[in-house]
Symmetry: C2
Subunit: 378 residues, 2 copies
């Protein structure tokens, strides 16, 4: 009884302190055993309510009660989803779902759909790696910078040395995004547990050289994330990449050799991976370009971007074990990727090509990571 | 020019893929050099728009344009703030501010106000500690569980041993909350940089024994955070605390001795700290009860809670270096804390008391951490 009163007190205190508990809750999203997902929102006075899920769903919801709108979707694949509502033209998050993610500047709700317990991006009861937020020194850029490190299960207990996979984000991203929308820790945990991938260290740096860290972790204060940074694909990140590699090799039990190093990235991160690996042909045996921004627009801006064809010929002479290109059919960078593949074909440089459906989006990048990672360090 | 087209493509691709960029942005919150903060929202058809900030502000906004509402606040203290809007009765986040935090089930926007660069919870250009998300084994609870570890700047480079501060969350919280609303990493970075606190390891476990981890990091899948857990203040967390201490002492360079161990927590975490330290009088020289839930409601449920007075006498005979009690005047737990202090007074057990303004809220808990931590391990 006293317990019950204590509970009431807590709720009252929080309601009165205005912390947002005034809304009688509905259960949203509600996930049925067969994977059907029901979304609900209370919006008594609304005329229209739309549900937007990633680039996958844009649909009107139906008024299913005096004040409640809802919709049930039956055909979603197991994956992570990001969604929001548009109520009479205004974007709203689902106040009944506490889980959100940020995509550049846009905050959305999120859930993982895993009705059969086999979704590769879900948390499962398998050994979990450790995730670290570290600050490294970049003498080249003259600043301390933040990056995220995934250490495989067993790292702390073993005395083994591990291969390293450098995983780069796109424009508008930062050091956190491969762990958030990208689900890199869950994907690696699951692939390693199933024996599909070898235990490896994954390094996720921040590729925006005008910032130390994600905007909410930077000493710059009240800054919003942005697509286009002051220094944007002008060679500085690539030129400073050895600072990251040196720090990692000095601070972790790595195998500091080409055959034990991979680099991959999405969009701008694919562009970075292309040029870093082309400029450092001795360093990476595995290269992954995920929907890479291969537009060659910055030639002449930095020696990093000069003489790409010559550099590629040198790089491929030393036979990378895997040069992997993945792109979606509807990606706005599809043509640029086709032109790049034609260049590689013309020079008879051998790569692996994966063409998926859909476009420039996280569902593809999570898939590419799931396909690319098992091919590393074997 | 080509760069410009590429930029347009990116925006178009993201707009078309429905990722929420359709709204012409306004700058919100806008922080002036003198610390004035302006909030804005576009809501053309709204009749009323309210701004709620923590328990500190609840005010109507004014229509300041055809479709824009705004308000400027001039008297906010440097701190972290959490806020949202209520548009015609519906809770909305600020779509122009990408930074959000979750308080139990409620998602709110956040910003740090630091006009003079001396706010103790802001990120400053000082050496930063490392933050780790680790999974430890709890034989007592029969599960792998997640916790967060703060390692002080220099930990990796030194061979020194460090004292350990166990920092516990309240009902509705989890292992992440002291790092998020609590700003523990920023507070420690700043206190250590100023020489106010000694370098220490801070351990932030999950005090909800029916879950492995924060709901979005748990293998249970689509679960929402909740205030009241199945096993709630019934002794299991306290009984399993040695699993955490053993794991920390085995995995980090700690000083595994009473004089080098502190334990503190807020609300339910204060209750946990009280009982863990009373049941393990050999283990903690420093105890902090932050707005602690000292209601004695679970006596008889577990031997952990039995004979508290006798246990306290034993604990205080061995002279804890600091037994610190902090509470706000308006806290709904104020009376319970007064009763507990009367018990200590009656038994002539010496503690330090800090009475603040306001109630059961994060502004107080951040303050208590800033006041408590410099007193440790000296």
């Amino acid at each position: 009884m006293k317990r019950y009163f204590f509970f009431l007190f807590v709720i009252m205190a929080l309601t009165m302190s205005g912390q947002g508990y005034f809304e009688p809750p509905v259960n949203s999203p509600e996930i049925a055993k067969d994977g059907a997902v029901t979304f609900k929102i209370k919006a008594a006075d609304a005329d229209t309510v739309r549900l937007i899920i990633d680039s996958r769903v844009d649909t009107l919801m139906k008024r299913t009660g005096n004040d409640t709108w809802s919709i049930t979707l039956h055909d979603l694949e197991p994956d992570l989803y990001m969604y929001y509502f548009i109520v009479d033209g205004m974007k709203m998050i689902d106040n009944n779902n506490a889980h959100t993610l940020r995509d550049v500047k846009s905050v959305m709700n999120t859930f993982v759909l895993d009705p059969k317990g086999d979704c590769p991006v879900a948390v499962h009861n398998v050994p979990h790696g450790e995730v670290r937020a570290v600050w490294y020194d970049s003498p080249t850029l003259g600043m301390k910078r933040r990056m995220m490190i995934y250490l495989p299960p067993g790292y702390e207990e073993s005395h083994q040395k591990y291969p390293v996979f450098y995983l780069l984000h796109g424009s508008g991203g930062d050091e956190t995004v491969w762990l958030e929308q990208g689900r890199a820790a869950q994907i690696l945990d699951n692939l390693i547990a199933e024996g599909k991938a070898v235990p490896m260290i994954v390094v996720m740096p921040n590729g925006n050289v005008d910032e130390q860290a994600a905007t909410n972790m930077s000493a710059e204060g009240n800054v919003q994330p942005t697509f286009i940074h002051k220094k944007w694909m002008e060679g500085s990140f690539e030129a400073s990449f050895n600072d990251i590699m040196n720090w990692v090799d000095n601070n972790y039990r790595t195998r500091p050799a080409k055959r034990s190093r991979a680099i991959a990235g999405l969009s701008m991160g694919g562009y970075h991976s292309l040029y870093i690996s082309a400029n450092q042909p001795e360093d990476f045996a595995y290269v992954g370009l995920f929907s890479a921004a291969i537009n060659r627009m910055d030639q002449g801006k930095s020696k990093i971007y000069d003489d790409l064809e010559t550099k590629l010929v040198t790089q491929f002479k030393q036979r990378p074990r895997l040069y992997w290109i993945g792109i979606g059919k509807d990606d706005f960078l599809y043509k640029d990727n086709t032109a790049f593949r034609e260049l590689l074909d013309k020079k008879r440089l051998r790569y692996t090509y994966h063409e998926s459906g859909a476009g420039h989006e996280w569902a593809n990048w999570r898939d590419y990571l799931i396909i690319f990672t098992p091919q590393l360090f074997k």
